[in-house]
Symmetry: none
Subunit: 196 residues, 4 copies
DNA sequence: ACCTAAACGAGACGGTACGTCGCGTCTTCGC
DNA sequence: GCGAAGACGCGACGTACCGTCTCGTTTAGGT
């Protein structure tokens, strides 16, 4: 992520820092997590953190990204809604898991720090959005999805409700939400046309 | 939110604090805004802030709530989608305005501070969600909305995409988004059934 | 010694800082004494030290000066050598006392820091040298001292040997040294002229 | 001062370190001179310094001692005061030269560090004091110096004034000081006995 | 119109964390 | 096996803010 000699870098320090940062952020949130605590818990000098990351948010970004890993990959079985169900279940699982509360803290930090926002978007969001759009495009070609919709709008419609619950906290993200959202989104809000 | 004698309270100090907090938060975000700056800019002793608010987030909550005011009230003309369009346009305007960037900062701060989250929810979100549900309920009774949907799900579906864009920043909130969301949400994603 | 509002200054903090600095410097020398230790031992925030003094040496200078106080004042009984004996005994006592080891540390620090050197000279040395010169001048007028000597040279001759022992440490300063120096200095090194 | 295999030692490294240390100490004093600067300036790994010296003071001690070299040797022409004049002129030259400011820094460092004090005394001071005492003893035997004086007292009387000026800095060491001190010290402070 | 108690502007205080510097050690190459 | 290079764990630096705590100084009701 930066400058000094990558080859001499201590793996032990790196993973201890990522683990400590995650733990502390889970316990007390990102704002109350300090570099000093991370260093102490990871048995590491503060300089070693600053040498490789510009901020605690950057540390957590790397840690969270490693955690999220392949858990949110997009399958393609040919059945769009089955695939969406699978993938969105992964997303809902992560967003509802206390293990990933640092993910929400990062989004919080991004509101006040353009650097964090940029890194978060580039490293975490955009690759997944891109994958989602491609899956949707294929579905469109196969007639499983209206041809006249903007795919990015669809992505926002599908995932917006999860982020809404996770960040605004009117109620918690659940796995049941996946069915609810998919059902609503497929059929739309209009009442069925009257028979006859 | 208080204790001392409200009647002796200085209006001048109160509004200077709210204004200073808003300005500073707009310029540098909530995280980089300090009590000392607010006090200095408002020509106020720090104690005067701490006397009436528990934290800078609380100050901003009050300031933001005053700003948002009636701008997001729900009309009821009898036409659900016209009313939704009106109200969501208000929301989109606020979420896309730099003047209300502190609103997003507050949501950010809420991720790490349960007190902020609670106050934000109670003072800002829940009243508006409640109003939205009531409007939707009336529409349901009038057959303008499927009868078999959970109204809170609908609220999340309608507003999630705006918060998604505002907080994740894949692209900015725009007024055009109101039409896009409403159109998608009314018809659903399924392709039209083939004729005959 | 500096800028903020002197009237609001906490006496408790000031004397606790001076005492802590003296203690720590006596135990471990000035170089190994840290601002952090001083603050901790004095139950004081570091900022409170930096608010009133520019460096740990400045703290010690004030502390030492307060300690030395009137102990090195010059008497004038009319008998030069009796007065010198009295005053030099005071000096020898201080230079040989572990309580004033910070005095030597200060001289040490002055070798590398012009600010310390200047303050030390102005606050501690010059007033005493001035008093000594005046006493010597009066003695010169009364014929108790050669008229053709530079008084500053005399001061250096009288006190140099004490600082030499204290700083170079070939052997410790003692009270007996007062007699030795005075005796040597009065008579000179030349052997007595042969009787004849 | 060492341990590893002296024979494999790099002369290039050794002299580069000594030169760099001297230069840096002359520019900024010993306290502000760091091992890292010395290593960088000498194009040397830090370990190479720590391998051969225990501290930066030890490096400078060796460097200074090499500089002082034979410049302060004691001659013996048979004329005590001529020889003193010669030798003290050497001392005054060194003490007044900016090239040897590290010498004073060392004395400063010795005030807070017993190891430095010990090494300084053993390597630099004691041999020269010993030489001085021997020269003075011979002079005593030859009747050029009072028989009833302690020779170490005499050494302190002769050199104290130079160290006083050098370390306390009331005024700078000069070559003229040699004459002044010798003159005073030979004749003493007492006024001449009245004739008759 | 005066009195008095409160809220006020100001800012020093005891602290915690910041991001940086330098320490002395350790590790990895190349000669 | 010494030397150049530099990452490491660590501790202190001097600064920025925290939230609390006096200080006078307004300022408003109550008399």
């Amino acid at each position: 992520m930066t400058q000094p000699n990558q080859e001499r870098r201590s793996d032990r320090a790196r993973s201890a820092i990522l683990a400590a940062a995650l733990d502390l952020c889970r316990e007390q949130g990102l704002a109350r997590t300090t570099m000093e605590e991370i260093a102490k818990k990871a048995q590491v000098g503060k300089q070693t953190i600053y040498r490789w990351w510009p901020s605690k948010a950057a540390v957590l970004l790397e840690a969270v990204n490693e955690l999220a890993g392949r858990a949110t990959d997009f399958p393609d079985t040919g059945d769009l809604y089955a695939d969406l169900h699978t993938q969105m279940t992964g997303v809902a699982t992560l967003l509802s898991s206390p293990r990933l509360s640092p993910y929400l803290s990062l989004i919080g930090a991004a509101q006040d720090d353009p650097d964090v926002a940029k890194s978060f978007l580039d490293a975490i969001i955009l690759p997944r959005v891109q994958a989602a759009r491609e899956r949707l495009r294929r579905a469109q070609e196969q007639g499983q999805l209206r041809a006249d919709v903007d795919l990015e709008d669809v992505v926002e419609l599908l995932y917006g409700p999860f982020y809404y619950r996770a960040l605004i906290r009117t109620r918690p993200v659940t796995l049941a939400q996946v069915d609810d959202v998919l059902e609503l989104v497929r059929r739309g809000l209009n009442p069925p046309a009257p028979v006859g």
